[in-house]
């Protein structure tokens, strides 16, 4: 950067995209106070009551303003669900630590209100710094917003840019944006948001997503590098901000903006169509991975033809008691009913003993990934397993339910699980309970040993589902979150492709369907080879569904078969990856996702 007064021209900054789309407009820089701007003086003891009164009325003014804004948010406002943040701020203003604490500093230290307040804010924020949990730590920013608001009132400062009075075509630029600022945004005038601070879990990020305004956070110094009125582009899909772009760049991004809108619209249309290859010879069922009941709606709206993986761990985590049969039944029933007549594959508890310390006297495991977890844990705690199976079989009368056992590594394990399932059927029948006795039973193939004996397992189950995340970790002996070795984690390792092929051949030889539910299933570059390998169902993150359907509808089956043969002749994962990427680029040169990734 040259002289300070020089404008940065066509200056790119990389941040984190938190809400998608492209916004082009004039920067509206929201000024922030810094504590060194606040006046400091020692007051006389006679001044103390006056200073306390000044502080109290500033707090009251801040509360009144917050209440006004909160009451202005109607029930149909997109931010209605987030109003509680403003309530939190109102409570913070009257919190004894903040309110009484500041008054005590004024009285005992004889500091003016501004100084006492900023000291108090520093004290509180440093207390938050000692918290390890990232989510709770983030809340220090809330006290900062609240304190700053009172400081501004004390100092008689009114914001230069009033949030609710921004001119049309504005892009908000700020060091940080408080929820109260965000709540005042008039969506029709604001085309984008660019923020210095980071954090996907910040309330601001959450609110920006609700408002569907292209937003980028983590831009570090953007608020200092640009001035109100300057042109700025924010690309919330790639997490880029461009300051004072040249006409050529603006032209390019206008096209991209247009493309993004059209692409998004046209893509969503693909969600409604079946995933049938262009030649019409193959139809793949596209389903969604979910873990919460709330996710069903987004799955359906993106074109999921059922749920290929319903992870049930969420029901068990973050609590000390176990979910009752009734509680589980209610959740499963609702997911099944929402998806009817499409199938819902419910995976039984896939959790490590370490995550459920309250229920297990598990001695410390040096290798939890290879320890007491998933089906092993369920077989060790039949009471937990039976409660879940009872809930599943009972809910299965309300829709198309399939049952999936995770981490099966040998036949005795599968047989033991099926034996318990039979006991549960008998018990339910004995109790005259309404249930579905003929739920399809499948194995989640994720242990290499299960691949090796897939031919044997196939004789005893109704379907396979390949869990690629764990299968890759176990077969390549790589912990994906270990930074020293994760460069070796490769979805397209020739070994992985051969394992998948072995499972599909074994499954199809017995006439059972083979699904895939790992992340691998939702990545466009992998789709042609997965079709070539004969996968019958792909289950993925809902957002990926429209794109995957579009892709499948534009390719021919013979192309996939040929491409798969060629890939199997290659020896290195990188070569295979490059080959598949080239193939996609050649066949879909215009598609957005290729040059986006």
């Amino acid at each position: 950067m040259s002289g300070f007064d020089d404008k940065l021209e066509n200056y790119y900054i990389k941040g984190v995209g938190v809400a998608g789309g492209v916004g082009i407009g004039q920067a509206a820089v929201i000024e922030r106070l810094t504590t060194d701007m606040c006046p400091r003086r020692i007051i006389s003891s006679e001044e103390v009551p006056l200073e306390i009164e000044r502080f109290e009325s500033a707090v009251q003014a801040a509360v009144d303003r917050l209440k006004d804004i909160r009451n202005g948010i109607d029930i149909d406002h997109p931010l209605c669900d987030h109003v509680y943040i403003l309530d939190t701020h109102i409570l913070l203003l009257h919190d004894k630590m903040f309110f009484e604490g500041t008054k005590a500093v004024i009285a005992s230290e004889r500091q003016n209100a501004e100084w006492a307040l900023s000291e108090m804010m520093m004290k509180i924020t440093s207390a938050f710094d000692t918290i390890e949990d990232e989510y709770l730590k983030e809340r220090a920013r809330d006290i900062h917003f609240v304190g700053e608001r009172v400081l501004k009132i004390l100092m008689g400062i009114t914001s230069k840019s009033k949030m609710h009075q921004l001119p049309p075509h504005s892009v908000i630029v700020a060091h940080d944006l408080s929820p109260i600022d965000t709540a005042q945004i008039k969506k029709e005038n604001v085309f984008g948001v660019a923020i210095d601070m980071g954090g996907r879990t910040s309330h601001t990020a959450i609110m920006a997503r609700s408002l569907k305004i292209p937003s980028v956070t983590g831009l570090e110094k953007v608020s200092k590098l640009i001035q109100t009125g300057d042109t700025i582009i924010v690309d919330g899909s790639t997490g880029i901000a461009i300051l004072n772009p040249d006409p050529e760049t603006i032209f390019r991004y206008r096209k991209r903006q247009d493309l993004y809108r059209k692409y998004h619209q046209s893509l969503m249309a693909f969600g409604r169509l079946p995933a049938v290859t262009r030649d019409g010879s193959r139809t793949v069922r596209i389903t969604a991975n979910i873990e919460l009941l709330d996710e069903v709606e987004i799955a359906v709206s993106h074109g999921a033809e059922g749920i290929g993986l319903f992870r049930t761990e969420y029901l068990f985590l973050g609590r000390k008691d176990l979910p009752s049969e009734e509680e589980q039944y209610e959740v499963y029933r609702q997911v099944l009913e929402h998806n009817k007549p499409d199938p819902v594959t419910i995976r039984t508890l896939d959790i490590g003993g370490d995550k459920m310390a309250a229920h297990f006297q598990v001695s410390h495991e040096t290798n939890p990934a290879l320890g007491l977890r998933a089906i092993r844990l369920c077989l060790a705690r039949v009471d937990i397993f039976k409660t879940q199976l009872r809930a599943i079989l009972r809910s299965a009368v309300h829709g198309n339910c399939k049952l999936l056992f995770p981490m099966i590594s040998c036949l005795p394990e599968l047989r033991a699980a099926k034996q318990i399932l039979q006991e549960v059927r008998d018990e339910l029948a004995g109790e005259n309970k309404e249930f579905n006795p003929s739920v399809m039973v499948g194995v989640l193939v994720e242990v290499p040993a299960a691949v090796a004996i897939a031919d044997l397992i196939a004789k005893e189950v109704d379907f396979f589902s390949i869990g690629t995340n764990d299968l890759i970790q176990y077969s390549l002996a790589i912990d994906r979150v270990n930074e020293h070795v994760n460069y070796l984690y490769d979805t397209l390792h020739p070994a992985v492709l051969r394992l998948i092929r072995q499972v599909t051949i074994a499954g199809h030889a017995r006439g059972i369907e083979v699904a895939m539910c790992g992340e691998m299933a939702g990545e466009p570059v992998n789709i042609p080879i997965l079709l070539g390998l004969g996968i019958d169902e792909l289950s993925m993150n809902s957002l990926a569904i429209p794109m995957v359907k579009k892709l499948i509808r534009s390719i021919n089956m013979d192309e996939c078969v040929e491409l798969t043969q060629q890939a199997f002749e290659m020896q290195d994962a990188l070569d295979i990856h490059g080959f598949l990427e080239e193939w996609i680029k050649k066949h879909f040169p215009k598609d957005y996702f290729v040059d986006q990734s």
């Binding site: 309530d87 409570l91 913070l92 004894k96 949990d133 989510y135 709770l136 006290i143 973050g318």
Partner: protein, 95 residues
Amino acid sequence: MAGEGEVVERTLIVGNQFGLHARVATMVVQAMKNFSCKVTLVKDDIEVDAGSVLELLLLAATPGSEILVRAQGPDSIEAIKELHRLIQHDESNEI
């Protein structure tokens, strides 16, 4: 009157996937305004006032952590029941 009568204690487990976060803390403080008893929460020997959002947040009660509720006053039992509903069976749905 607050501060009088027997002290009632009960252990709760934080049920929300994000812990005792801003929304739950807000609901707790708002709810406690309806009771006359004095309520504190204890975790790892730190005792905080259930009427202070800041103190509740600073408890750093992560998902699954154990909290001791201590109430003293005529409506202690009702207050604890309400806290159980809010903290253990957290009904908020913040994502």
